[in-house]
Symmetry: C2
Subunit: 164 residues, 2 copies
C-alpha cells in the first residue's frame, strides 16, 4: 500500500449509470479528514458508451488532482434483476478501470460492511449514513446522498486498513 | 460513420470476464473479408480490476494496430442471474470503454439479431455460427468459438449498415 508522510489518501466510489458519487478522504494518525467529494451526473440523453466515458474521465480527473493511493468501491449483492445488474456492472467496470489504469489498488466492500463501519450496524438507511459521514469527517453540512455513500466506502476502507 | 476509400473496418467484440473474443473485418463494395481475430484470455488468478485492465489494454492494442472505425458489441438479454450479469457488465463496460476512448462509434446487437444476420435464424448454436463465419469470410479453417462470436457481431453490423 502506498503511503506518503504517514498518511493515506483513499478514493471512495459509489458507481451508478445515472449518478456516480466519489469522495476522497485522508487518514493520518488515526484521524480522518475530507479532501474532496462530489457527484458525476450523466445527462439522460447520453448513450451507454458515453456514460462510461463520462464516469471514466470524471474519475480520472479526480485521481489526477487529488492523488489517492487506493480506491474503495461498494460491491453489490442486492437482488436486482439481471438487466439492472448488467447496467450497474458497466458503470462499476468503468469506475474500477479508471482506478487501476492510474495505478491505484482497488478494494471491494459489501454494502453491509460499509454500513457497519460507518453507522455501526448493517441495516442503516441513507439518511443515517449521511449524518454519520458528516460527524466522522467533522463537516459543517451533510454531503449529498451519493457523495456520502462514496465517502462511507472510503471510511470503511480507512477503518479496516492497518496503515498508517 | 468513418469510412476510408469506400471500405469500412468493423471491430466485433464478444466480452467475457474469462475470455473476450475480438474480430476485425473489412466491408468493401459489399464484400466482407477478415482483417484479424483472436481471444484475450484472463488467467484464473487475476482479480476483477486486473481482468478489466487486460480487456481494456488488449482491445486498445487491437484498435491501434487494425484501426477499425466502429465497434459492434453483443448485447445480452439472456436470463442470467444478477451476480453473473454484474460480472459480464464489468467486462462489457471495459470493452465498450476501450472502443469509445479510441473514438470508435459503438453499436449494440442482441444475440438473436446476430444469429439471424449470420446463420439466418435466431436460435443457431455455436457450431453453426463458427461454420457460417468461416463461409462468409472465406476462411480455410474455423476460428475459435469466442473469436467466431466476435466476428459474427461484426458481420451483423456490416450487413445492417448501409455503408459503403
Amino acid at each position: 500500500m502506498v503511503t506518503s508522510g504517514g498518511c493515506l489518501r483513499i478514493l471512495g466510489i459509489d458507481p451508478g449509470s445515472r449518478v456516480t458519487g466519489y469522495g476522497v478522504i485522508e487518514k493520518s494518525g488515526g484521524r480522518l479528514s475530507l479532501v474532496s467529494c462530489g457527484v458525476i451526473k450523466m445527462q439522460a440523453q447520453l448513450s451507454m458508451p458515453e456514460r462510461l466515458q463520462v464516469i471514466y474521465n470524471g474519475l480520472s480527473e479526480v485521481i489526477r488532482s487529488e492523488a489517492p493511493a487506493v480506491a474503495a468501491v461498494e460491491d453489490v449483492f442486492v437482488a436486482v434483476n439481471p438487466r439492472s445488474a448488467l447496467k450497474l456492472g458497466h458503470a462499476r467496470g468503468a469506475a474500477v478501470l479508471a482506478a487501476v489504469q492510474h495505478g491505484l489498488a482497488v478494494f471491494d466492500y459489501t454494502p453491509r460492511l460499509v454500513k457497519q463501519a460507518v453507522v455501526g450496524y448493517g441495516q442503516a438507511d441513507k439518511g443515517q449514513i449521511q449524518q454519520m459521514v458528516r460527524v466522522l469527517l467533522r463537516l459543517s453540512a451533510s454531503p449529498s446522498a451519493d457523495a456520502a455513500d462514496a465517502l462511507a466506502v472510503a471510511i470503511c476502507h480507512a477503518n479496516r486498513s492497518v496503515l498508517p
